[in-house]
């Protein structure tokens, strides 16, 4: 994804943004300067809020608030972290402010849960899974204990990659961002984790790990370098 052309495009955008910011800081900016800045970053900022499930109206509000944050804070921007990072900080603060407000509103009961909530409506029947038989339950607990012990024996970084993959359903590339590792290193960790668990627990778990790691992992084990789990 990050080809030289892409890098060049992003570098150009960041450089243009810095030029505009310098104009604003020096007082030589015009409305046209802000229009150019909006042209460069309106869509990414809008997308930042849209992917968090805000309505279109709220996205417009939040995007506007982010650019107001840029406008009011521009004199304090020193350029040490790059414009994109600064923009991210402002957008994140705007988002969290709204998030806290939304949470507070929920606490006062002003918002209703979305459809699909786990909670049943009053009078609605809640399906309950049948309780396991005592022997089955004991076996299950024993399997869980063995599995937990083996996971604890994995090296810390490997265990964290495993957690992000299985527990959090992240892609290899995303795990790499969180762990600050290359995608290849993440794949190698996951391959090793699976091999170790299979070797240690195969007797008890059979072909358990294929399903536990998910189908996508199979591709990585076969040596594909493509990100297949998009």
């Amino acid at each position: 994804m990050n080809t030289p052309t892409v890098r060049s495009h992003l570098a150009d955008r960041a450089a243009a943004a810095l030029e505009i910011v310098a104009e604003i800081q020096s007082g030589s900016a015009s409305e046209e300067s802000f229009r150019r800045l909006l042209g460069l970053y309106y869509q990414p900022v809008h997308h930042f809020f849209a992917k968090r499930g805000f309505s279109e109206e709220d996205c417009l509000d939040l995007t506007q608030e982010t650019f107001l944050g840029i406008y009011t804070g521009v004199q304090a921007f020193r350029g040490e972290s790059g414009f994109d990072t600064w923009l991210f900080r402002i957008a994140t603060n705007v988002y969290r402010k709204r998030w806290r407000w939304g949470s507070a509103e929920k606490r006062t009961g002003a918002q209703v849960p979305l459809a699909g909530s786990d909670e049943a409506a009053p009078g609605e029947v809640i399906p309950v899974s049948p309780l396991p038989a005592p022997a089955e339950d004991a076996l299950g607990r024993e399997r869980s204990r063995i599995l937990r012990d083996e996971i604890e024996r994995l090296p810390d970084q490997m265990r964290r990659c495993l957690a992000l993959r299985v527990y959090r359903d992240l892609k290899y590339r995303e795990i790499g961002v969180v762990m600050k590792l290359s995608t290849e290193t993440v794949k190698a960790h996951l391959f090793q984790a699976r091999r170790r668990l299979q070797e240690a627990l195969g007797e008890y778990f059979g072909d358990y790990f294929g399903a536990a790691f998910g189908d996508h992992f199979e591709v990585a084990v076969r040596g594909s370098t493509e990100e297949t789990d998009s």
């Binding site: 015009s30 509000d61 969290r96 527990y167």
Partner: protein
């Protein structure tokens, strides 16, 4: 009977670091997330942030967005930004600039300038612009002070029989006629409107917008407070609202939102007796 993936998740959950995501356990700040992304945090801090990221979906998403913002030109799509939305943001910026401008935002575009200019020429131009601005500001300030003296003189004595108009959304409480007509003595300097909101809902803040028929917004601002009767008092100087038809819009401002919830629209007309 077992769901391997679920069983694995449960086993992992029991061995993950106990960072706690309940309220009170702070999420990393946006600065910390950005510094973590850039590898600028000290090891102990980086480890704390990473522990948090293992469990916190929200912060992970933010971190991945920063990565995408800096590395994926497709983040947000490749389409140009809609012109109408750009204009809406610019309107907000203009309003902000009018309220408290940290940097001037002239309403018209500056003429394009050559990219390379001699430094001395630029400085001289900047100084000339500054001097001109100061001159205009000093002149404007003097006029304003002179005008203020006259106004303060008028307000230094009681405004006898100053009318109070009780407005409900759409018209007045006392009459169904629309719009309400307020006839004011010529020498009266100020009068009070009581705005009754359409909804009893409370907000952290309120603002109003006064629009003259066919003349645009004459004033807008916040700072209103609901009184014990659930209404709002608004004292208006005559100089702000000369004879004519007006609409006042009242908004409730939820915390952290640019756009308020409309609470009422009040129409009235002012005539001089």
């Amino acid at each position: 009977m077992n769901d391997p993936r679920r069983e694995m998740k449960e086993a992992l959950a029991s061995v993950l670091p106990d960072v706690g995501l309940e309220p009170g356990n702070a999420h990393p700040s946006s600065d910390e997330l950005a510094a973590y992304h850039d590898g600028e945090l000290p090891p102990a801090e980086a480890a704390r942030v990473q522990d948090h990221l293992l469990l916190c979906e929200n912060c992970t998403e933010l971190l991945l967005d920063l990565e995408a913002l800096r590395g994926d030109p497709g983040f947000g799509g490749q389409r140009p930004a809609p012109a109408a939305e750009i204009e809406a943001v610019l309107r907000g910026l203009r309003a902000q600039a009018a309220r408290s401008a940290p940097a001037p935002l002239p309403p018209t575009a500056a003429p394009p300038r050559p990219r390379e200019r001699p430094r001395q020429g630029r400085e001289a131009r900047w100084l000339r612009a500054l001097a001109a601005s100061l001159l205009v500001a000093v002149g404007g300030l003097s006029l304003w002070v002179a005008n203020l003296r006259g106004t303060v003189g008028d307000f230094s004595r009681p405004q006898l029989n100053a009318p109070i108009l009780d407005l409900s959304p759409g018209g007045a409480r006392s009459e169904d006629a629309h719009p309400t007509v307020l006839r004011l003595p010529r020498r009266l300097q100020i009068f009070t409107l009581v705005l009754n909101p359409a909804s009893p809902q409370s907000f952290p803040g309120y603002n109003v917008e006064i629009e003259r028929e066919g003349g645009g917004v004459v004033w807008s601002g916040g700072g209103l407070e609901k009184n014990a009767f659930g209404s709002f008092s608004l004292a208006l100087p005559r100089v702000l609202v000369p004879d004519g038809a007006y609409t006042i819009r009242l908004f409730g401002h939820p915390e952290g939102r640019m756009r308020g919830e409309p609470l009422g629209e009040y129409h009235f007309k002012i005539e001089t007796l």
